[in-house]
């Protein structure tokens, strides 16, 4: 049993006051009578008949004390369970959906903090009186008002639809939203169901109308997480390094296991970590695999951060074949392409006989009669080519970046680019211009026949592009664009991060499998807005024919591994005294009505005692 308005218990101070009044009043009024003979007789008789006669004198006092105590109790609004119903007219419930809410709470089962928070809100809904309103705000990837109503069913539906998220949550927006709603309605109550690990500067906390209530989960068990893991595959031998951290305040023994793609256990380590300790584990000579699972075995408070899918980086180098009009090569281009040892550039002489094993074919000033089998970079296309017909050279004009957000132009500053002449392309509508000089495109990209093309339609020797700092970056982007299949991995991202899908995944018919095993089509919307993993684990992308497969590893943000609740004091504009005040009666769990009935009954008894004298 708890009290919804415990401060009302100060009325219990009336008890001593009543006693004091009795002590003061208890002086009997003197009344002289002819003789007390008969009274004495009567009193003796009454005392003999009613042994509690001595008590009787104080019976009124006792009854009044009980009445006062009951009144104070009733005013304090006792509720039978520990459940605290909504007291304000408008309750704003902020529900944290971040990964740390997936922590296991309770003594048994796999109930998570989010589950218990939802149960609590559901209880709150069930005890909502018809004139009370509840606004449910999700504190997830985006802060959103899920529902705002006094309709329980609608609120329950919205609550049921709120699911665990594994990406970084937008705590600040959710708090600001709740604070804004709360300041609009100063009588509203804010309840935040979260562990308080928001990583925000306390100075930036928004001001609430009233001090909000933070309902934090109590995690069961210790949490350890894999902070990072990476692997390098050097021709069949893989070296793997993983960082594990014990986030609990106690010593924790961790069993770290490494599994290959087919599920065979490659290594298992047992490590003892001190409180808050972080250590790096490394393995070498692991057999080659598409990916590795690094897992912390055993029970753990938060399971989501116990698995890290490692996609090994392959150090195999691809071959680029360069042919120039002058047969002298292009030093700038060659140097820029071979940066990072990912590509070995080979100079060719005969434009019509390209090697079969090159991944990238670079033509500067020349073009063959037909396209080779790999990706193609064309620099300064010749005027007489049939593959890419060009017009007469035109004067360079004002530089215009058409798609500044294209992946190819990230961190590429072309404002200081100076050109002499530009070759305008005729035809080839499948090429998309990214940068224009005047009306003439100077950088174009496109895909045709399953391969990628990039065209720089000016002579590098007649420009200062190779001298610009942007040049190596642009070349790197071109290389990544043209050779996206350098390995079968898409890399590693945090859950919730948007990732641009690059060719060939942009093609029709690609599908992906999420970590849970569900197959999904890649829709146009995903291609346009980028792909966003929603849960940690391995995402497999497959082409229509099933021949090509690409992997993506999604992990939980490291900051979410902290599951121990943090004490947060949120500022409010209102005075803290008025916080839970102005409470209207709510909920069927309160028992003040029964107390009131009892008080009424006692009043009758007291009246009877006063009137009859027992």
């Amino acid at each position: 049993m708890n009290f919804l308005s415990p401060y009302m218990l100060f009325w219990l101070a009336t008890l001593p006051a009543i006693v004091a009044l009795y002590l003061l009043k208890r002086t009997y009024e003197n009344q002289t009578v002819p003789s007390v003979l008969l009274w004495q007789k009567l009193l003796r008789e009454m005392e003999a008949n009613t042994p509690w006669q001595k008590l009787r004198r104080n019976l009124l006092l006792l009854l009044q004390l009980v009445l006062a105590a009951l009144l104070a109790l009733a005013l304090a609004r006792p509720a039978l369970t520990s459940f605290q119903g909504a007291s304000a007219d408008h309750t704003i419930a902020v529900l944290d959906l971040s990964p740390s809410m997936a922590v296991v709470t309770g003594t048994s089962g796999s109930q998570t903090a989010l589950d218990s928070a939802k149960t609590q809100i559901s209880d709150l809904l069930n005890h909502l009186s018809p004139n009370q309103r509840l606004t449910l705000i999700s504190m997830g990837r985006e802060a959103r008002v899920l529902a705002s109503s006094n309709d329980r069913a609608e609120l329950q539906r919205a609550l049921d639809q709120a699911t665990q998220e594994y990406g970084k949550a937008d705590y600040e927006s959710a708090l600001s939203l709740a604070a804004a709603l709360s300041t609009q309605e100063p009588t509203s109550d804010v309840r935040i169901y979260s562990d308080g690990n928001w990583g925000l500067d306390p100075k930036l906390y928004p001001h609430f109308g009233r001090p909000p209530q933070l309902l934090q989960p109590q995690p069961r068990g210790k949490n350890a997480s894999i902070r990072h893991a990476a692997a390098v595959d050097t021709g069949g031998h893989t070296a793997l390094v993983a960082t594990v951290e014990n986030l609990s305040d106690e010593v924790n023994s961790l069993d770290v296991q490494i599994q290959a793609a087919d599920g065979t256990i490659l290594q298992a380590n047992s490590t003892l970590l001190k409180a808050k300790e972080q250590i790096a584990l490394s393995w070498s000579d692991l057999p080659s695999s598409d990916f590795y699972r690094v897992m912390i075995e055993g029970t753990d408070a938060l399971a989501a951060d116990n698995l890290w899918i490692v996609l090994p980086e392959r150090t195999t180098t691809a071959k680029a074949w360069l042919v120039t009009a002058s047969n002298q090569g292009n030093v700038f281009l060659e140097k820029a392409l071979s940066l990072g040892n990912r590509l070995s550039v080979e100079r060719g002489t005969d434009v019509e006989s390209p090697p079969k094993d090159a991944a990238l074919y670079i033509y500067e000033g020349v073009l063959p009669k037909e396209w080779p089998t790999g990706s193609v970079l064309v620099v300064n296309p010749p005027a007489d080519s049939t593959l890419l017909p060009t017009g007469a050279s035109v004067e360079a004009g004002k530089l215009q970046v058409l798609k500044p957000d294209a992946a190819l132009l990230q961190n590429v500053d072309l404002t200081n680019l100076h050109l002499q002449t530009v070759q305008p392309l005729r035809g080839a509508p499948w090429l998309e211009p990214l940068v224009k000089s005047g009306d003439t495109p100077i950088l174009l990209t496109g895909e045709q026949g399953g391969r990628r093309y990039a065209v720089l339609s000016f002579d590098l020797h007649q420009s200062d592009l190779p001298l610009l700092p942007a040049f190596p970056i642009l070349v790197k982007h071109l290389r990544e664009y043209l050779l996206p299949t350098a390995g079968s991995t898409l890399g590693q991202v945090e859950v919730g991060e948007r990732m641009a899908l690059l060719p060939p995944i942009r093609e029709n018919g690609w599908t992906y499998t999420d970590p849970a095993g569900g197959a999904h089509d890649i829709t146009q919307e995903v291609i346009e807005q980028g792909f966003r993993p929603t849960e940690p684990g391995l995402y497999k992308f497959q082409s229509k024919d099933g021949n090509a497969q690409q992997l993506l590893s999604a992990t939980v943000p490291a900051s979410e591994s902290v599951v121990t609740p943090t004490l947060v004091s949120l500022p409010s504009v209102g005075r803290s005294e008025q916080a839970p005040a102005a409470a209207d009666p709510v909920g069927g769990l309160e028992i003040w009505r029964y107390l009131a009935a009892l008080i009424l009954l006692l009043l009758f008894v007291e009246w009877g005692v006063y009137k009859r004298g027992i």
């Binding site: 208890r26 009997y28 009024e29 003197n30 009344q31 002289t32 009578v33 002819p34 003789s35 007390v36 003979l37 008969l38 009274w39 004495q40 007789k41 009567l42 009193l43 008789e45 009454m46 009787r56 004198r57 006063y610 009137k611 009859r612 004298g613 027992i614």
Partner: protein
Amino acid sequence: MSRDTLLSPALLARLERLRLQARETPSLRGGSRRTRQIGTSIEFAEYRPYIPGDDLRHLDWRAYARLHRLFLKTFLDERDALLYLYVDVSQSMAFGGKLHLAQQLAAALGYLALAGADRVEGAVFAEKVLARTPRLTGKPSAYRLFETLQNIHAREFGEQGTLSWLSRGGVPREPGLVVVLSDFLFTDGYVESLRRLQTGRNQVVVVQILSADELDPAFAGDLHLIDSETGLGRDVSISPHVVQKYKLAVSQYTAGLQDFCRRRGMHYVLLSAEDSVEDAVFRRLMPTGVVSG
């Protein structure tokens, strides 16, 4: 205070027509009260033969002339009655006009006794007999009785009313009709004293006078009741229930006294202090037979 304030002339006139119905008492004085003894009244009783030594004045000479035998003519004797009026003047009688009614009633009884040629002795008592009138005879001496009665006042606080002085030789030597006017709220009881009085061949009339407050208390709340005589205090929370119980106790007490008197052959009259003296005499005393018209 004139005697009119005690008794109105109209009442006095009515009282003159009443007589005390005293039982025959061995009085040595002649009076207006016929007795069964042979005496000197004008009422003929019987003839009896002369025995030497008899008073020759009572011989019936006419009978001797006819029969030549000496017969003595005897007459019934007429004696008076002796009325004792004992008035309780303890502090408790000062409440609710009890003493005033007692004074009036004593005056009325005394007057009608004197008017009937009986002797009257008045006395006031509290712890003991405080004052006593001489034995009064004759209507004119009623004035002295009235004067004495008018001048009595209730005693001060601290003196308890009791009848115990009767047991300590207070019983009058000459038996008579004893009227005790009191509230009979004696802490030491009344049984023994009244019994003593009766053993002295006295005819006892108990007149209990209680005030309205005693019969039906109008108090309320928590009271510290103080006894007017002893100063003894009692805390009582007055409630209707308690008042009801008290009334029961009062009626039990008066009924106890009445029962005692009935069994001992005494007369008992309960008067409320609010009653008028006329009511007391004509409505209460007359039915008991103490006075008759």
